[in-house]
Symmetry: C3
Subunit: 394 residues, 3 copies
């Protein structure tokens, strides 16, 4: 394992501009910035694992703004903030007056007077989540520029309609650890494939996040889905461009078997077709319950045609030496466990269960890294100070 | 801008008895006590703005007891507590057994064993909110006196049926900053006027808080509302008495134009008539849904007669040099933005939008000041210690 | 009152294995372990009462997992965690994806990456609460063993279907204080008796916790209930065994009067019959609303036969010198106050009200003690360090 000093030395070599910039989409960040995000996360994990306090805030608020349900990300955010010394305050719209006509512009300022960071999840409506975060950020810029806010709180995207950067970056850190280094990922094949689920309406942000990020590191990314289950076209273009720029590959196929063939990593996960998400967004906005029910029936019937898109032992045999790493953002639809027929066979999941837990375990550190890099211009020296101080956490 | 030392010197000159006293109504406090509340708030803002830790609690709980919805005040309270080092715990009646017959007396003690401060919002029922806070306080007195509680937690009124002291004091601090000093407010005319809104049932505590407080500082307070939209008569008496004692003026008129004439400050805001709030309280207590619907219809119809009570560009021209400061506790009903026809024209609001945000920005510091003054007998020396220690917040 | 040093010396004499062990049932703990839990609670109370910081965590998360409503225990847990320096994060199933098929195994790990302690209340279903906590603990063991979790978070039972150890231990600490020492409890008679309530379905964990704990300290425990209102038979066996091993006594009678006779302490409290809780659990699991209504009617009718099981002034006269200590976990059903006819006469409750508040006031310290003992192998030296450091809390 790398020493703490090695991590710090690596950070010092990078040229990055993460300071005071929101973390909304991984493809807005440079290679060095992504690398720094991973390294700072590793340094924070090192501190915590060695019982050294990583508190770099004496006080300060972190706001979580969850516009959709969440357990994992909620706890990851809370853990990250507590690690750094920030206290989480939930902006729960059920408890607030937001529904009564407040504009984003006003709310953003009203909750930010003493706030350092705001984590937002907004993945329900296609075309809305990322837009909301941008508007929120502009409102904060406006408030800061006009002297309303003493500092500009940073925004961390905890999942939007386009990307899920804390998930994708945690996944990347898991791969870095599993394969030994980012270098080692070059040329590795990852199969990001649709999988059958008895539910519908799952967001597109995970597969989009994976193809948008893994194409940055020279990987061979193969996206597989049944015809009609495409992702947002713009993100497909991002993946293509990334691959061509970093010596990676990006390919779309309509067969799970083909994607699994010779893969080093498989990521089988259900999502709703892009077109369906668009129709669903319209119906949700109109509050058309009949329409939503009809759409759900139509989609479930369509899904049911692809029950063979399941990550089984047999399919795993198609992968490199039959030993590809199975990944999932969790919770997975496990056949015979959480549902009758689902994304993955129980035996496959069980074999990789601990690995998926470890994968999830990187998320708090990724979020803490995003916060630290946003609020401190020189992450390396902050981390060194904490390390040298060696204040025991407990 | 005043130096930190100047603020501290001013505090030292005052004779006050804020220590261990709840902050329920501004008119229960002396002039010096109100001044100290402002000054301590300014000192805390100075510390925060200069990245100096204002933590004067190593640990301790602050309880928020919101019996009505809130975003702003909830976040202001959370910010204030975090600034001082207290952790907020919500007393959410939905999550608790309070509905099952617990008495206030018991609840007050049960949540207070290790509690330093309790912030309460209770503005739904006329005649109930202030009473509830007093009962709560008596229960805490009883528990403290009898050795149940190691200390008497302080209560901060976060809005009741009578007053909204954290709002009014934040408004006053905004005026102090805007006009340069409390001295400069003498003789200034403030128009606290009713304004049209397409909703009904808005509490009376803001206008009552404003007329009860601004009459303390030699201001010329003019309260305007359409006939039938009066406030609690006792509070009108308070305002009259205040004005006569401090060389200010207090006048009630039934014309927005008249109130605006030559005003230095305008505060146009909707509220429900006192008599309606009384009837509404009765219906709410009986859970009479039909009655409530009928009352709402009656009131909305009545409101609709006064759509011309809108703060327009034209009306603003009536004010001193056409340049009165527009104030609002937010969120405002902005015509064409948050509603079709509302309290204020979009162009007027837009011109003063940033000022209203700054106004709101004082609230966390006012709340923190109320807490600090309640828990520390010598605020000036605590603030000096924090200043001299110069511990960086981040 | 004992000095701090005396408390520490007493702790040092004990041989205990509380470190890294969950606190689920008091009868899983040795005498020395129970004594240490009381002593550490007393030491923490001493520190707090003397304004000495008891923070032994620089940062860290404490998760509260309330699967049933609670005010007291929720605030006790929050107070305990804040006292030690941990931040509470609620696992609220309404806000999470838990309802969507996540297994306990996965959830336990997902929320625990940076977590030190988890407090769980699960007392709704007979046969389920304790089982859930054990499964949760096994999931944490699994995650820790497999390198998912950097440490094994401790579990504190905040009430299950079998025991309510934080309540029973707080009750015991109250008795220790009231009678001067644990020694003085030997031979004292405590009447744990059923009492009438106009509600049904109250959990069995309080009476079970009391008979399971008080029989450990040489007390004469008399359990009284109307025929048909028995507790879980296994717990009755535990109480019998305890009594025979510690020179105490345990007896079951069907008369409140008999139990009160010559009692030093009375604990009159309603609960649902064991058999009813079993039927109720089945109906709840089937979501059989009609069945639940019918069961409620049947039970209320049955309860109504025993309205004379009320703790009245007359019944109190039967106790030792008419002066037995009245105890209750609160809230009590007080006749003429919280209900028409209930568990206790208003005059009796009023006389002992302050004592019941003090009883409740020990709970935060008991919980903090359970956490400290779980996370630190040498509680005495941690407490000494805090004492010698004498950092002021405020």
């Amino acid at each position: 394992m790398k020493s703490f000093n090695q991590i710090i030395e690596e950070i010092k070599k990078l040229k990055t501009g993460l300071f005071e910039k929101d973390f909304l989409l991984t493809w807005d960040k440079t290679q060095d910035e992504l690398k720094q995000t991973l390294l700072v996360a590793e340094a924070l994990k090192y501190l915590r694992d060695n019982n050294i306090s990583a508190k770099c805030f004496d006080s300060g608020l972190a706001i979580s703004n969850f516009r959709d349900n969440s357990t994992r990300t909620r706890f990851s955010f809370a853990s990250a903030c507590n690690l750094l010394g920030l206290e989480v305050q939930d902006l729960d719209e059920g408890k607030s007056q937001i529904a009564h006509g407040e504009t984003v512009r006003e709310t953003a300022n009203m909750i930010s007077f003493l706030t350092d960071v705001i984590g937002i999840r907004d993945d329900m409506f296609l075309g809305a989540g990322h837009t909301y975060m941008c508007e929120f950020g502009e409102a904060l810029d406006d408030g800061y520029k006009n002297g309303v806010l003493p500092a500009r709180p940073g925004i961390v995207n905890l999942q939007c309609d386009i990307d899920h950067p804390t998930q994708a970056m945690a996944d990347l850190l898991h791969l870095k650890n599993y394969f030994g280094s980012l270098e080692n990922l070059k040329g590795k094949k990852i199969a990001m494939t649709w999988a059958y689920s008895p539910s519908y309406g799952k967001p597109l942000s995970v597969p989009q996040g994976i193809i948008g990020l893994m194409t940055r590191f020279g990987m061979e990314v193969e996206l597989a889905y049944p015809e009609g289950y495409g992702l947002i076209p713009d993100v497909i273009d991002v993946a293509k461009k990334n691959a061509s720029e970093t010596g990676g590959k990006f390919k779309v196929v309509n067969s799970m078997d083909e994607a699994f063939k010779n893969a080093d990593i498989v990521y089988p996960k259900s999502w709703a077709p892009f077109a369906v998400m668009g129709r669903r967004t319209e119906l949700l906005q109109k509050n058309d319950k009949e329409g939503l029910k009809a759409l759900e029936q139509e989609c479930l019937a369509n899904n049911a045609k692809y029950k063979n898109w399941e990550c089984t032992e047999e399919k795993m045999k198609l992968t490199k030496d039959g030993k590809a790493l199975y990944m999932h953002c969790l919770p997975a639809d496990i056949s015979g466990v959480s549902c009758k027929e689902g994304e993955v066979a129980n035996t496959v999941f069980e074999k990789y269960r601990i690995e998926t837990y470890k994968e999830a375990g990187f998320k708090p550190y990724i979020i803490a890294s995003m916060i630290l890099n946003n609020k401190y211009n020189d992450a390396a020296s902050i981390l060194e100070k904490l390390y040298n101080k060696k204040k025991e956490r407990m």
